[in-house]
């Protein structure tokens, strides 16, 4: 046997991020650049876009074509939906949610933002902070994306001038503090030429901060930095009574994904809604026993006592119970072409639990361009409003800003089965 031990590969897991901006800001070029410089684009795809670039009369390969969409979109000349794209640096895997930037697509950005650890907000260096910059920032903040990066792009078109960058940064900070954004990073960039994306380039010598990819490599994923409370919504109960193995006749495994926090064998837990207390006997993935389970791990919990637990119940650490609520206040984004009707009953889905709900009170509608609060009788698609909701069944909730997993819900219209709303509990 060789004496040389293999060096364990570095794996910083996975980071999900969102790019906000319109085609004019160079969003597609930035994504193309990231994919191209990290070698996520293979030769046959590259040949295809090179052909298309030539057909459209361009000298260089147009990297924005890498994100070209569906036939249905090209026919209408618009981007209709969030697209997901993938690349890896060898140490970390990335999922990009590419959301269309137009005003009417608030619902797409909210969708893409819901799973993002980080948002990149693109600003055209020639244009500075625009209404859409404010809109994207407000939504990123509303959705509580942990990290915000402002990429001041097209620096090549302003001679890579530091004073342009400084002025836009100051403008941005002035309005960001008004809406409560505190943690934000700024990068000068030319996605077209590749400056400060993966490579530093040699035209932005005055900037000493990280490149975009360096920043992505070091950003913490969403659950890593808080002291979160343990939340385990039960998805499915495993009771293999009919098994040939008699040892399994009393087996009751509570299956789910740790929404937040962590749990260890022997820890005292409370079962909601029953309120019964017991201890964790084992944490399993198939036949493997784990001493602890952490946020985002899918596991099976075995408990000391026989307690009747079913899908929709929640296991939490004793003494760390969430709020048991039959009335909630929330920020709600309406996603459906059919307006919200405050007289109708909808279905609210929260973790693995459903409840009939009356979305009866609209406190105000938020204008996402001016941040003004307006009164409203009903909500139409892309509206964001503060609402009061009455529930038929209690939900086990935390504030969304504290816990995205137990602070979020969707609204389903039972007459169509469509998902019509997305809510963040206040």
């Amino acid at each position: 046997m060789s004496a040389i031990e293999p060096i364990p590969p570095i794996d910083h897991g996975l980071l999900r991020f969102l790019t906000c901006g319109s085609v004019d800001d160079g969003k597609s070029t930035l994504i193309g650049r990231l994919l191209y410089d990290t070698k996520a684009i293979l030769a046959d795809t590259l040949n295809a876009i090179a052909r298309t670039s030539k057909k459209r009369g361009m000298d260089a390969i147009d990297l924005s074509l890498l994100t070209d969409g569906l036939q249905a979109e090209r026919e209408q000349g618009i981007t209709i939906d969030v697209a997901y794209r993938y690349f890896t640096t060898g140490t970390r895997k990335y999922i990009i949610a590419d959301a269309p930037g137009h005003e009417q697509y608030t619902r797409n950005m909210v969708t893409a933002a819901s799973t993002a650890d980080l948002a990149i907000i693109l600003i055209d260096a020639r244009k500075g902070v625009l209404a859409q910059t404010r809109r994207h920032s407000y939504l990123a903040h509303l959705m509580t994306i942990p990290h915000l990066v402002v990429a001041i792009n097209k620096m090549d078109l302003v001679d890579y001038a530091q004073d342009v960058f400084d002025r836009i940064r100051d403008d941005y900070l002035a309005f960001a503090s008004q809406i409560g954004i505190n943690d934000v990073r700024f990068i000068p960039m030319s996605a077209l030429n590749g400056d400060m994306v993966v490579e530093r380039g040699n035209r932005l010598g005055w900037y000493t901060g990280p490149t975009l990819v360096e920043l992505l490599e070091n950003a913490t994923a969403s659950h890593a930095e808080h002291n979160e409370q343990f939340r385990f919504p039960v998805q499915y109960v495993c009771r293999p009574q009919e098994s040939a193995n008699p040892e399994l006749h009393d087996y009751r495994g509570f299956m789910g994904r740790v929404e937040s926090g962590s749990i260890g064998i022997g820890d005292a837990v409370t079962i909601l809604p029953a309120g019964r207390e017991t201890h964790v006997k084992d944490i399993r993935i198939i036949d493997r026993s784990l001493p602890r389970a952490f946020a985002e791990q899918s596991v099976t919990l075995l408990l000391d006592d026989e307690i009747d637990i079913s899908r929709g119940d929640m296991i939490v650490k004793a003494g760390e119970a969430p709020t048991v609520a039959k009335e909630i206040d929330a920020m709600l984004c309406w996603l459906s072409e059919t307006p919200l009707d405050p007289r109708r009953k909808y279905l609210v889905r929260h973790t693995t639990r459903d409840s009939k709900a009356l979305l009866g009170r609209i406190d105000f509608r938020a204008d996402i361009n001016t941040m003004e609060q307006q009164s409203a009788e009903r909500l139409v698609m892309n509206d964001i409003a503060k609402v009061g909701i009455k529930l038929a069944q209690p939900l086990f909730v935390d504030r969304y800003t504290v816990n995205r997993g137990t602070g979020a819900f969707i609204v389903i219209d039972e007459s169509t089965n469509n998902t019509v709303g997305a809510g963040m509990i206040l």
């Binding site: 046959d44 939906d81 993938y86 895997k93 930095e225 293999p240």
Partner: protein, 304 residues
């Protein structure tokens, strides 16, 4: 921003955990789901995920394969053996039965049966009353897939409407459907081809032998390799070569082509995948090259 903390899941652990969560949501929300299992590498990963999701219990769904009758014997043998090892029920429905019934009509005897799987699949969904089909499609395969939901709604004709998809937020999935409608669920949506090979290596998953380099008669055509088989015999004038090849994807013989390769272990396949210059479907799927939008078109017609 601080450094990455210690208990961050590795990317494979994260992807696996997400996929387990999705499968358990299907089990929790749907009354009669089915898992599509072809014996191909993606669906082999899906079986491993199902084991991690539901053992020591049985799978809360049967396995099903839509067989065109034009599959490699190695893959069909593997399919049957793997289902038996797991002790799970395997349903096979055949495009040839649909042809006999007259619901699939080929334009010519040598037309590929691949796209006609949609018809047989819809017939099987109706026969068994399945309300959800779990499949192994990935978003990195093709741009129509890049925009598809993890829980993807299909109407009673099995059609996907890219303009009218349900919003999908956080990890809150909506599998509700009326009778006759259907949800397609893709637990490994966020995996790439590379992730799949890494997972196969980590979990030491067995694959049908044709995924590894072997010698096979082929004909060079249009930049690719066409396998010479009973279903796809050499045509007059073709030069048949015996080459060392492997398959990157496995499906209907008439539309799945091998690539030249010496990789006879998973480690070698991973090394090749890391340095390949051709996309998985670009190299090997003859069915996607007919038109730029052909996957989008087939999905609208009820394809996986």
């Amino acid at each position: 921003m601080t450094t990455v903390t210690r208990h961050t899941l590795t990317h494979l652990d994260w992807l696996e955990s997400e996929a387990i969560h999705i499968m358990r949501e299907v089990a929790g929300q749907c009354s009669n789901p089915v898992l599509l299992f072809s014996g191909g590498k993606d669906s082999i990963c899906m079986l491993r995920i199902a084991e991690k999701a539901f053992r020591p219990g049985r799978f809360p769904f049967p396995l099903m394969h839509i067989d065109t009758g034009h599959n490699y014997k190695e893959v069909i043998d593997f399919r049957d053996r793997r289902a038996a090892e797991l002790g799970e029920r395997l349903i096979v429905r055949s495009v040839e039965d649909s042809m006999r019934r007259g619901t699939v009509v080929l334009k010519s005897p040598d037309e590929s049966r691949n796209k006609h799987q949609s018809v047989t699949l819809l017939e099987a969904i109706e026969e068994f009353g399945f309300d959800a089909c779990i499949g192994g499609a990935r978003r990195d395969e093709e741009k129509a897939r890049a925009k598809e939901r993890i829980f993807s709604f299909r109407d009673e004709f099995g059609q996907w409407d890219p303009k009218n998809q349900r919003p999908e937020l956080w990890d809150l999935y909506n599998a509700r459907a009326f009778k006759g409608e259907n949800i397609r669920v893709f637990p490994i949506s966020n995996w790439t081809e590379f992730d799949v090979w890494q997972y196969i290596e980590r979990e030491k998953l067995e694959l049908p032998s044709i995924y590894y380099a072997h010698t096979r008669p082929v004909v060079r055509k249009a930049g690719g390799l066409l396998p010479v088989t009973e279903v796809t015999p050499a045509k007059p004038g073709d030069t048949v070569e015996h080459m060392k090849v492997r398959f990157r994807t496995v499906g209907d013989i008439t539309c799945t082509a091998p690539v030249e390769s010496d990789a006879d272990t998973i480690a070698k396949i991973i090394a090749e995948t890391a340095t390949t210059t051709i996309t998985e479907r670009g190299a090997t799927r003859l069915d996607d090259q007919t038109s730029e939008a052909s996957m989008e078109q087939r999905k609208k017609e009820g394809y996986f």
